[in-house]
């Protein structure tokens, strides 16, 4: 579990995150939703240590991340898997080498063991026999799946996904969502998904956190979402005609 207490972050004079406190649960897909510019990417980057925080505490299973020194942060980060928006695969490495990269850096596995682990991770994302392809040869969905495979290579305790569905067609987006949920439940990972894709929210949202202007305005699951009376949340979630109609049908 990740516990965030009174987290604040500002850039120069601009307060981006304002006294956020939240618990992100293990074995669940914790979804952070909000409009562009609401602070959700900053929140994610603070959690993974890419941004320093001004105030507050971040506890990963009771370990204070915010007071760790560089050496401990580096060690601790081996417990974290991150799926970046664009995949962030290393262009000069093949699919196999990309997934093997963290194994080369942090394990003493033999080559055979590493290959077995790579094949296992690839099978988890349904990309068997793509070992020798290079990132430039992959489609958007395949890139994301390889990035997930790389993120789980070291058996992380925490998985962070930044906009996993951006730029994907709806069918592939659902595939990625299901994959994230499956991995989260199977390996009992604390997963945090940063998204503004409402399909994802409905598909996998078991713990949804709505951030608006740097503050948490609402928390709940996908069933609570439909019935919510929060105006900001409803304006955001039911912005499209389709979702408005679905909501109205649900209530009538």
């Amino acid at each position: 579990m990740i516990e965030v207490k009174n987290l604040s972050k500002s850039f120069k004079e601009h307060l981006v995150l304002d006294d956020l406190s939240v618990k992100l649960e293990r074995g669940k897909a914790n979804l952070i939703i909000g409009e562009s510019g609401s602070g959700k990417t900053t929140f994610l980057k603070c959690l993974i240590g890419l941004h320093s925080i001004d105030n507050g505490e971040i506890l990963f299973d009771n370990r204070k991340f915010s007071i760790m020194d560089d050496k401990n942060i580096r060690k601790f980060r081996q417990e974290i898997g991150v799926l970046f928006q664009g995949g962030a695969l290393y262009d000069y490495l093949s699919v196999e080498e990309n997934i093997m990269f963290p194994l080369n850096m942090f394990t003493s596995f033999s080559l055979k063991e590493k290959k077995e682990r790579v094949n296992f991770c690839l099978s988890k994302v349904n990309l068997e026999k793509t070992n020798n392809l290079f990132p430039s040869e992959l489609s958007g969905g395949m890139t994301k799946r390889v990035a997930i495979a790389r993120a789980i290579a070291l058996n992380p305790k925490y998985l962070f996904c930044d906009e996993p569905n951006s730029g994907l067609d709806p069918k592939t987006a659902i595939l990625i969502d299901n994959l994230i949920l499956e991995i989260t439940e199977e390996f009992n990972i604390t997963t945090i998904v940063n998204t503004h894709d409402m399909n994802s929210v409905i598909q996998i949202g078991s713990n949804i956190i709505f951030i608006h202007e740097g503050k948490i305005l609402w928390r709940g699951d996908k069933n609570d979402l439909i019935k919510s009376k929060n105006d900001e949340l409803n304006n955001f979630v039911f912005a499209s005609k389709l979702f408005k109609t679905l909501r109205n049908e649900n209530f009538t």
Binding site: L50, Q78, F84, G86, L89, Y90, M105, F106
Partner: protein
Amino acid sequence: MLKYLKKIGRYFILMKKVFSFPEKKDIFFKQLFNEFEKVGLSSLSIVLIISFFVGGVVTIQQAINIDDPLIPKYLIGFVTRDALILEFSPTMIALILAGKVGSNIASEIGSMRISEQIDALEIMGINSASYLVLPKIIASILFFPLLVILSIFIGIFGGWIGGISIGVTTADFVLGLQTEFSPFYVTYSLIKTLVFAYLITSISAFYGYYTNGGALEVGKSSTTAVVNSSILILIFNFIITELLLT
């Protein structure tokens, strides 16, 4: 002024991160050999071509300038040798490498920055600065002196061919090469090369590493890296010459 001081501070902070012990030796050496190819070997052809023709042109110009019966012909070889050892091979080749290798390093690291590949390294717990930059600096420090030595030899060879083309005899040219040869000039040339190699790779890596934005900024970083490393090469050329030759 404060902006420049800030930038210098950031540069030294990056260098502190760069010069840390590699996390995995075998991976570091693999990276280092890749960089030998990228930073050094791939520049071999351009260095050889330029050196050959510049050597030839320097000889022809000297031959025309000292076309006086009172000045011995062997001075043509003498001047060509010293021009190549003292200035052309270390400094001009460094400026060419700043354009070729420097822009390549800045754009490679800059692209990795904007596509979040550097963030991905950091998140894995890897010291991205050391992993990406240290092999480049070491490869260039080890390989550029070899390029400069080759450049001197090929430049002299080009000078010999250029000399023959306008009637300078091989005997005169070789006598000029042997006249008052000071081995310290080669040492001076190699010391300059080591400093220039470090400047080119570290400055280019610095601009690439701190690229912020999109593809346009990668191009800007690359240009700034080349311009600034070229200026610093010229400044340090002056300082080292003052210190070692006067």
